[in-house]
């Protein structure tokens, strides 16, 4: 692929570009919009939970008669919130946007290995996300069987489920296949001279391992989607047991299938998916922490090996989502053991990040605040997961708000904080401008408070036994009466959290309209994405001359050096 400078129209330059930076930005904008949409769905649901049966203000007329959310609609909102946040929001932002934009810059290549496939992957993602949303407009509304789509419920569900499955096939092909093959080949083949494996920034390592997980874990869900499509459209009964009765009506299926088969195939994808969500976050946080403590991170190799081990182990823990399906104790014992083992590398990574703060001269700028917020929030999310990994405790906690609290602590104040840290950290790289620190700090502190306001009460409700899928928020549960007031606390926190994001949006708009600072390396970073290209980077081609790498990625405050950072491309 040559980089001939033919005349670019706005179409070839910004819409159908094959430049990894433009594609990264396309992924970024699209996924941020979806994050907002997914969050909006949740803010609507939280009204129903706080004030069950009351008409929803502002958007009520769209939802149902008299502005009250009907239960089927509530289920649709829940299923689509999960699907949109994970498959249209966080994964494309963490992997598609950050991976595409910064990975080639960090390893010193002029583009991804397959630029056209890269553009195709974005457009597949775009089409898939539109297909997902079309579900809201088909008879019966969008998919309403949860983001996990468990059969037999999902097989007997309305047409929205078929649309969901079709959308999923598109999304799997885009993010998993095209995106991950591209990232893997780029890292293996296109590293600059001297960029050995142990000189790769941690961000590149995390993207590399994430790509492997996407490549190998998503196809089983594609297989499962094909089987469920067959069940729904052709009338097979892969997931339909014999003699199924729904609402007193005997279902017309040949039967002989097993709903558990879906759960196995689904969780074989969805557990590695958890690490797809968290690994890029580790990468971003590591870059920010090393840069803002002005010292090398502690235990680079320990971190790399822990991540590789984490990626491997993530394939053999899936059935810990299925303890209450009646599995035997010996299988349960196996998955409990692997689940306890996989917590070790997570702890190693978190500890190295935490120890990296020791003795550093910390700069409390906006990206660093988000990174510092990430560490305890991910810690809470991870530690509350341990009881869920043990069958005895999980039987009580399964499908309660405790589970919701646990994984939201990992993804929302965890991964999403990391993504915000990344956006603030790399904003000067992309635009050549600076973000407003005051607005950024307000954004962080309000987000931090309200995130905890939303998710901390969920542990309390969950321990009390409130199920996660109740349309009325637990009003009919006698034993939930004592913790019911928390619904209002969580809902108000969620709406205020939504308002806090205005700081972010305003900050982005103001900063984009500001003047270019002319600095190439405002944070004093060592990796070659900052030191050997301009900010914003050159068009197609990135580097004036591709640099040669002479040292590791985090050589901050090297004794005897003339400045407190030594770029990777500096000889010596």
């Amino acid at each position: 692929m040559s980089t001939d400078h033919h005349k670019d129209s706005i179409w070839t330059k910004y819409i159908f570009s094959t430049d990894h930076k433009i594609i990264g930005l396309q992924y970024g904008f699209t996924s941020l919009v979806w994050l907002l949409v997914g969050f909006t769905l949740m803010m609507i649901m939280r009204y129903q939970l706080a004030y069950p049966g009351n008409p929803v203000p502002i958007v009520g007329n769209l939802l149902g008669e008299g502005g009250i959310i009907p239960p089927e609609m509530y289920n649709s909102l829940g299923a689509m919130h999960g699907t949109i946040m994970i498959f249209l929001g966080v994964v494309p932002l963490a992997f598609g946007a950050f991976g595409n934009y910064f990975l080639p810059l960090q390893i010193g290549t002029i583009d991804m290995a397959f630029p056209k496939l890269n553009a195709a992957s974005y457009w597949m993602y775009f089409v898939g996300s539109i297909v997902m949303i079309v579900g809201f407009f088909v008879p019966g509304g969008a998919a309403n069987s949860g983001w996990t789509s468990y059969p037999p419920l999902s097989v007997t569900a309305t047409m929205g489920q078929t649309v969901w499955l079709l959308g999923m096939v598109f999304l799997i092909t885009s993010s998993s296949l095209l995106g991950s093959v591209n990232i893997l080949v780029t890292v293996i083949q296109l590293r600059a001279k001297g960029m050995t494996w142990m000189r790769l920034p941690i961000f590149v390592w995390t993207q590399f391992i994430t790509a492997f997980l996407l490549l190998l874990a998503f196809p089983p869900l594609e297989a499962a989607s094909v089987l469920q499509l067959m069940d729904r459209l052709v009338g097979t009964s892969f997931f339909m047991p014999s003699g199924l009765v729904v609402s007193g009506v005997v279902q017309n299926y040949t039967g002989g299938g097993s709903p558990l088969l879906w759960q196995h195939l689904f969780w074989f994808l969805a557990h590695p998916e958890v690490y797809v969500l968290i690994l890029p976050a580790f990468g971003i946080i590591t870059e920010v922490i090393a840069n803002n403590t002005r010292k090398p991170i502690r235990g680079y190799k320990a971190m790399v090996y822990a991540m590789v081990f984490l990626g491997f182990m993530s394939f053999i823990v899936w059935a810990h989502h299925m303890y209450i399906t009646g599995m035997g104790t010996s299988i349960g014992a196996f998955f409990q053991t692997t689940t306890m083992i996989i917590s070790i590398p997570s702890v190693v990574i978190l500890t190295t990040l935490f120890l990296s703060l020791w003795g550093g001269s910390i700069r409390f700028n906006t990206p660093m605040l988000f990174a510092l917020g990430f560490i305890p929030m991910f810690g809470i999310g991870g530690l509350t997961g341990l009881p869920l990994g043990l069958a005895a405790a999980d039987i009580h906690l399964h499908d309660t708000y405790y589970v919701i609290g646990h994984f939201h602590y990992i993804v929302a104040p965890g991964t999403i904080f990391a993504l915000f840290a990344g956006i603030y950290y790399w904003f000067p790289k992309i635009t050549g401008k600076r973000t407003n620190e005051t607005l950024g700090k307000l954004h962080f502190f309000f987000s931090f408070i309200f995130m905890n306001g939303v998710f901390m009460p969920m542990f309390v409700q969950g321990l009390a036994g409130v199920s996660r899928r109740l349309w009325d928020g637990g009003e009919i549960y006698a034993h939930a009466a004592d913790v019911l007031y928390l619904n209002e606390v969580m809902s108000i926190s969620a709406w205020l959290l939504g308002l806090a994001q205005i700081f972010f949006i305003v900050n982005m708009i103001i900063s984009l309209r500001g003047k270019k600072t002319g600095e190439t390396n405002p944070w004093g970073a060592t990796t070659i994405d900052w030191t050997d290209t301009t900010s914003p980077p050159l068009g197609h081609g990135n580097f004036e001359t591709v640099p040669t790498v002479y040292r590791g990625p985090y050589e901050y405050s090297v004794p005897g050096a003339d400045k407190d950072f030594t770029p990777q491309s500096e000889k010596g």
């Binding site: 692929m1 040559s2 980089t3 290549t109 002029i110 583009d111 290995a113 397959f114 630029p115 998993s176 296949l177 991950s180 093959v181 591209n182 893997l184 080949v185 293996i188 083949q189 296109l190 490549l215 190998l216 874990a217 998503f218 196809p219 089983p220 594609e222 297989a223 499962a224 094909v226 089987l227 067959m230 052709v234 009338g235 097979t236 009964s237 892969f238 040949t254 002989g256 299938g257 097993s258 088969l261 196995h264 195939l265 074989f268 081609g541 580097f543 591709v546």
Partner: protein, 196 residues
């Protein structure tokens, strides 16, 4: 500046980009078919009764199809080897033969499918036929996809032989790797569905 290693091998990996890419793609395909084969095992072990494939399916036709596909894999290699030996006419011949054999496979498959439908055997009849039609159907889609690509390089895409013969040879190698994989899937499908 050009992206490096699009045609030449990178010294430390010994691969050019496209070849590594197709191997990774095939790894992903292994997981796709692996998931479906696992589903087959799961359904069969959980079923009260499971028919023997040979009682329902046509083993002689499938044996013929196996021969077609194995031969097509051989002709595929020959077409790539011909390019390595700079014999473009032989490439045309062998690639054409590959297409012909693939088309023969599809014709046989068509007669097999219609015979099932005529006897009232549909995917919804039981789970054995369900997984049979799903697995072979997905395999047929892979065959058709491969045929489209081979046809492209056989007719319109062959112009590249004049402008960039090394890159063209690499492309045929990559298509070949994919084609052998599709062949290999059938080698697993045949005994699992027809004989066991």
């Amino acid at each position: 500046m050009d992206i490096p290693y699009t045609v030449k091998d990178r010294p430390d990996t010994g691969l050019y980009n496209g070849k590594l890419g197709i191997w990774l793609f095939l790894a992903s395909e292994v997981m796709l078919f692996g998931g479906l084969f696992s589903a087959y095992v799961f359904l069969r072990t959980g079923a009260e009764s499971w028919p023997t494939g040979a009682d329902i399916l046509n083993v002689p036709l499938a044996t013929l199809n196996t021969l077609f596909l194995i031969t097509s894999s051989v002709t595929m290699v020959m077409s790539w080897a011909s390019l390595k030996l700079k014999e473009f006419d032989k490439f045309k011949l062998y690639a054409g033969l590959t297409l012909l054999l693939a088309a023969s496979f599809l014709v046989v498959k068509y007669f097999e499918y219609t015979a099932k439908f005529d006897h009232g055997l549909f995917p919804s009849t039981n789970n054995f036929l369900g997984i049979y039609f799903t697995l072979t159907g997905l395999h047929v889609i892979h065959i058709i996809g491969g045929m489209i690509v081979i046809f492209f390089f056989w007719m319109p895409g062959a112009k590249m032989w004049e402008s960039d013969p090394d890159r063209f040879t690499n492309r045929i190698e990559i298509v070949g790797l994919y084609w052998h994989f599709v062949d290999l899937v059938w080698i697993f499908l045949f005994p699992v569905l027809y004989l066991l």
